[in-house]
Symmetry: C2
Subunit: 124 residues, 2 copies
């Protein structure tokens, strides 16, 4: 029983708060992490909140990347969801950890779509 | 120690495969689930794959919603990430389960950003 998707939850703790509030930097970091590790970018949305914080989502052919930052806590939540084997989400996570200078990152790997597919579905 | 974000992973198994390949339906369902439960939509991306499958991401003021569908398996992976209390991601998940007629859904709740914030960060 193989998973259809691999979902990486990255807790980016104790990071550089200035970078966590810098939309151009954040966009560049995530787009670079996606493309450098072989993902195919479809489109992206990045949004600056007031007084602080940035949200970004990138749709990729292999699924998505997202980031939500709390500069006031030196924290960001990052997700990397991928299907197939064309890029390694752990490699992308490592690039993002480096860019935001996280001194206490945590990576959680979750398998998505581990299906026991009944014949009634398989044959629909 | 409170979490900054709540992350709902929704396994949408045994769903209607035609709806899982219908981009306008999927976009409408997710935008409706966000707005009906009180989320504030910033922007969205939806993409149709060939021969089948749809990816969608919605940036909201409270974080994001995403969906990736595998019509051939009657399956979709949905995430709803929210911060604050302005909308309940479980309510949004229930609307999505209803729309795709999932007969075997599974909701996993994950707390994101449960920080032991050191003074050095808190005061930066």
């Amino acid at each position: 029983m193989n998973a259809l998707g691999r979902h990486i939850l990255l807790e980016l703790r104790d990071s550089n708060p200035e970078k966590l509030n810098d939309l151009p930097f954040i966009r560049s970091s995530l787009l670079n992490a996606a493309s450098e590790t072989g993902a195919t970018i479809i489109d992206h949305i990045f949004h600056q909140f007031s007084p602080q914080g940035v949200t970004g989502v990138i749709a990729i052919a292999e699924s998505h990347l997202s980031i939500h930052t709390w500069p006031e806590y030196g924290y960001a939540a990052v997700d990397i969801f991928t299907c197939g084997e064309s890029f390694d989400p752990i490699d992308a996570a490592r690039l993002i950890i480096r860019d935001f200078e996280s001194r206490d990152p945590e990576i959680t790997k979750i398998e998505r779509g581990t299906l026991n597919i009944p014949a009634s579905i398989r044959n629909r």
